[in-house]
Symmetry: C2
Subunit: 193 residues, 2 copies
DNA sequence: TACCCGACCGACTAATCAGTCTATATCGAT
DNA sequence: ATCGATATAGACTGATTAGTCGGTCGGGTA
């Protein structure tokens, strides 16, 4: 039956959610599978039923986390609006998402360089992010932006977003409309001619 | 004798160097003390002779790493030169240091948020960095900089440095005078009024 | 009814871990 | 030459680890 399909996946889901939290708080090797299972309220046998190895667990957690972020930032581009507003809108969406989901972003920041995630997995999900930004790349070329190669522009964009999220995580009392606008201007005025 | 004093500390030094490399590559819990000892070419007994616990090892490694960076960036401020040049000179020193010592910077990035380093240690070394930047803070206030609070300015400065290091680590073929100058302008034009 | 398959469990195992212990070696000082 | 202190070694230990195994349970199918 339909609700049983969901119920079946409930434990798998719980294992993923628990792993996200524990991996961020204590690291990959610092979190035992026994601890994940216990915290998630399942047996170790169940954990290894869904995930063949601990490596497969973190690998699939990486995909799951990145895809859930990607889903929330889809098809946002509005040709009617000025380019800067489009960029700011995307930037703001990522920043808000990061502040609302500190564990997800922390996990990605910590593990995107790690050897546990296979490069196949990294590449597969990276492609989707490049796709998302494709429509903006054209805009950057047509506007009053400093001359630079795509990779630098992308790293500046991402770097600024991650930096902003970490900053407001550190100083939550500073987070208000004015300061958020300011941090975007820091990025925009930097890349503007 | 003089060279014997150095020789005595040789193994301690080797343990620190080896730990830096292994902790970055495989994480804290992912690196066993036996592995560190073996790679460093000492016995486990020797490792625990110099470092009471694994926690003390990473704690002292953190101090050692940050202090070695700090030492190389001291007393650089030149009242004669324009402010922007002073800032760029400091910025450049950090960026070059980061590119020359990827393990050191990677270690700090990975572990400055980690629970293994005691907050006492973190605080003690953080003070010295704040001291270093004190002389620049005054300069920022007196120049044509956007109005913002110190913590945001500092996070932008550091964020840009770390971002730049990571970018050129990823695309070493892009690293040349022109692109390094450009990345600094990205920061400077961002914070400028 | 019978039986089959995937979900789920937790006791179990072989390997590995951080840290200890005891023994020897080498130092500088007297 | 002798001595206390420190440096070094590596076998050893109790605890913990990732992963296994043999089993129960319950819904779907024939």
């Amino acid at each position: 039956m339909f609700w049983d399909v969901n119920k079946l996946k409930e434990k798998e889901q719980k294992i993923l959610d628990t792993s996200l939290k524990l991996f961020v708080e204590r690291g990959f090797h610092g979190t035992s599978t026994a601890e994940i299972a216990k915290t998630a309220g399942v047996a170790t046998g169940t954990l290894f039923h869904y995930f063949k190895t601990k490596e497969e667990l973190i690998d699939r957690l990486y995909i799951y986390t990145k895809e859930s972020i990607l889903e929330e930032v889809q098809g946002d581009y509005d040709e009617e609006k000025p380019f800067k507003e489009n960029v700011k809108s995307l930037w703001l969406k990522f920043v808000c998402l990061g502040i609302e989901n500190p564990y997800k972003f922390n996990f990605i920041m910590t593990f995107h360089c790690s050897p546990y995630i296979t490069s196949f997995t990294k590449g597969r999900i990276e492609e989707k992010f490049v796709e998302l930004l494709e429509v903006y790349k054209k805009g950057f070329k047509e506007n009053e932006i400093k001359e630079m190669y795509d990779e630098l522009l992308m790293d500046c964009f991402w770097g600024n977003i991650l930096n902003t999220i970490m900053h407001f995580e550190k100083y939550p009392e500073r987070m208000n409309q004015q300061n958020i606008d300011l941090t975007f201007e820091l990025f925009w005025d930097g890349i503007s001619k």
